[in-house]
């Protein structure tokens, strides 16, 4: 298949993920669309259970048994992932697309040395000899800021701290110079003091190496600094997507605005004032949800919210949202100016 340089590395159209349960089935992801350009960082934000991890896992084809994946298009560099067989997916994973998980403490195999685990993908995909793979491993450990890199190769995961392990995981993901890295809350399990450090390292390295990244995080402060694009997920849908600048400066969807209100902004939030926590709960996704899933928690909800909610384009092309309210758009536009 012909692919031009400025074609997106990842193209997702109408992605749906369903988990069959005893009685019905859980529509965990309900038709999401996005494009990811080469070298670009997309941050997915949204509350717990909104389907962020499932979306990430579906791209790299590591969904748990039984979870159904459907989409109109799911393409990686022009390769149709929906049609890719197991062995083709295997040859992509760890080579051209890599993943970094949430739990550094348990994501490394306790029985093998850091070195063995670092070189594994490189040797599998590049058919490199041991010496070359180890040299590459040392190079990357140094890149992720690990001192005495060569001597670390012989250490076991239990001998390293959580922060170091996550650095190792990052190095491992970068071994084969992937074109796409998916990082699912890579720092949630870490000490607060090193969270930002690790995220910035990740952002810096992906930028430097020109790797596209999907970063799932709850840390909106980090999103503001590292994201090119932001996708806001709610109840299995992307309710708002756009460049980080647009979404942060002129959020349109009431949920996005609520979410942004949840973080204290130095200077703007007054001390002691309550944060904009969003009251209410997410609707059940077991049956079909009609209309806007956020309307039960939305201050602006009207009758129109029960009908089909189309994608709408905000001020510029790269900023879209799903909300029927014109007021949201205006409020967003005003806040942005």
């Amino acid at each position: 298949m012909e692919t031009a340089v400025n074609d997106p590395i990842l193209k997702v159209r109408n992605l749906r993920l369903t988990i069959p349960l005893g009685a019905g089935s859980l529509n965990a992801v309900r038709g999401i669309d996005f494009d990811l350009q080469r070298g670009e960082t997309l941050c997915i934000v949204g509350e717990s259970g909104s389907g962020k991890s499932l979306t990430a896992l579906s791209i790299i084809d590591l969904l748990g048994r039984g979870i159904e994946r459907r989409a109109d298009r799911l393409e990686f560099d022009g390769i149709d992932l929906l049609k890719a067989g197991r062995s083709q997916m295997r040859s992509l994973r760890g080579d051209r697309m890599a993943m970094i998980f949430q739990e550094p403490m348990t994501s490394l195999n306790p029985a093998y040395t850091i070195g063995d685990q670092l070189v594994e993908a490189f040797r599998l995909h590049r058919k490199a000899d041991r010496a070359a793979a180890r040299a590459r491993a040392v190079e990357l450990l140094e890149k992720v800021g690990i001192t005495a890199a060569a001597s670390r190769l012989g250490q076991y995961p239990h001998q390293l701290s959580g922060g170091l392990r996550q650095r190792v995981m990052i190095a491992m993901a970068l071994m084969c110079e992937p074109e796409l890295i998916i990082a699912d809350e890579p720092t949630t399990a870490l000490d607060v003091t090193i969270q930002a450090q690790i995220l910035h390292l990740l952002a810096e390295l992906t930028r430097e190496m020109g790797v596209a990244m999907i970063l799932i995080t709850h840390d909106l402060g980090v999103v503001a600094r590292v994201a090119d694009k932001v996708a806001v997920m709610y109840a299995g849908e992307l309710v708002e997507t756009g460049t980080a600048k647009k979404v942060f400066e002129a959020p349109v969807h009431p949920y996005t605005r609520g979410l942004l209100g949840c973080i204290p902004v130095p200077g703007r939030t007054q001390r002691g004032a309550p944060l904009g926590a969003i009251p209410g709960i997410v609707p059940s996704l077991i049956s079909e949800v009609s209309g806007c899933a956020f309307r039960s928690r939305c201050a602006e909800a009207t009758e129109a919210c029960g009908a089909f909610i189309p994608h709408r384009v905000a001020s510029e092309g790269s900023h879209s949202f799903r909300c029927v309210h014109e007021s949201g758009r205006k409020a967003g536009a005003e806040a942005g100016t």
Partner: protein, 305 residues
């Protein structure tokens, strides 16, 4: 790793000394050995003579030291019943028991581990159910009944296998199956449970995310971690098989060490019982030590000791 091995060796030696003291004290727990030896019609004078002859009149610690020093040199005294050196007697019987034990545990491991792995890969599948059925049967069926059934079918009805004796390897087939099948269910369940747990772990997902194939994921990443508790269990079972294969040895008339122990207890042949208990315990100690070493090799976290 070397420090770990030395530490474990020290521990094993300590346990061995304790066990030797216990097996020595058996002599006295069983009543006055001189009276027992002298027989029913003996007079007090006879008993006194025997007491002096065997050295039972000396302080206990001296006797223990004397016994231990000789035992370490392979001298376990003379059997009261056979009037032969216990060491020769035990050695001859032990080779049968060892053969049976090694065959039994190998049979158990070679059937249980693959079955457990397959069952874990496909939980609730037909093979999983079959494996469960096999293990439930293994647990429910008494060894003597299973052994007798095998004899009825393969020796009497079909005439394929000899029902008793130890002359050729063919004689060991049925005893191996009976003994191994006894150990199989626990090993299989532990393998299955371990594999299920490990396969659901984060590092297996990491391995898959690297593009590792199924075989690599299963055998390199999963099995090595899942097998650790199985090693410890197999060591205990191996020790148990050596000492506790009495039933199997009786059914198939394999006159091994287990059978000898059983006979000797009945005959009050204390030196033989003592020696066997000491040797069986030493086996346990050796197997536990070996399993610790194997596990430390499998799991670096255990090397800290």
């Amino acid at each position: 790793m070397l420090v770990f091995i030395l530490k474990r060796l020290g521990l094993a030696a300590l346990v061995a000394v304790t066990v030797s003291a216990i097996s020595f004290s058996l002599l006295f727990l069983a009543g006055d050995p001189a009276t027992a030896l002298a027989g029913e019609q003996a007079t007090d004078v006879d008993i006194e003579a025997i007491r002096r002859l065997y050295g039972f009149d000396r302080p206990v610690l001296v006797q223990y030291w004397d016994w231990l020093a000789k035992a370490l040199q392979g001298d376990f005294g003379e059997s009261y019943y056979f009037k032969l050196p216990v060491a020769d007697l035990v050695l001859q019987r032990l080779s049968i028991t060892m053969t049976l034990g090694v065959c039994g545990i190998s049979f158990a491991l070679l059937t249980a581990v693959p079955l457990g792995v397959i069952a874990a890969i496909r939980p609730n599948s037909l093979i999983d159910r079959l494996a469960l059925l096999l293990s439930v049967m293994g647990q429910a069926m008494p060894s003597f009944w299973f052994g007798l059934m095998l004899i009825v079918i393969f020796s009497i009805q079909l005439g394929w296998l000899p029902p008793s004796g130890t002359k050729t390897w063919v004689h060991f087939i049925m005893p191996t199956v009976v003994l191994g099948y006894y150990a199989m269910p626990a090993i299989m369940r532990l393998t299955r449970a371990g594999m299920l747990e490990v396969l659901a772990s984060d590092y297996i997902r990491t391995a898959r995310a690297k593009g590792a194939g199924e075989g690599r994921v299963l055998f390199k990443h999963a099995l090595r971690n899942a097998i650790i508790p199985v090693v410890s269990l197999a060591a205990v079972q191996m020790g148990f098989m050596l000492g506790g294969s009495i039933v199997v040895e009786s059914i198939f008339a394999l006159h091994g060490a287990g059978y000898l122990a059983w006979e000797s207890i009945g005959r009050n042949d204390l030196p033989t019982v003592q020696a066997l208990i000491l040797i069986f315990s030493m086996f346990y100690i050796v197997f536990t030590f070996l399993s610790d070493v194997v596990n430390a090799w499998l799991d670096p976290r255990m090397r800290a000791g």
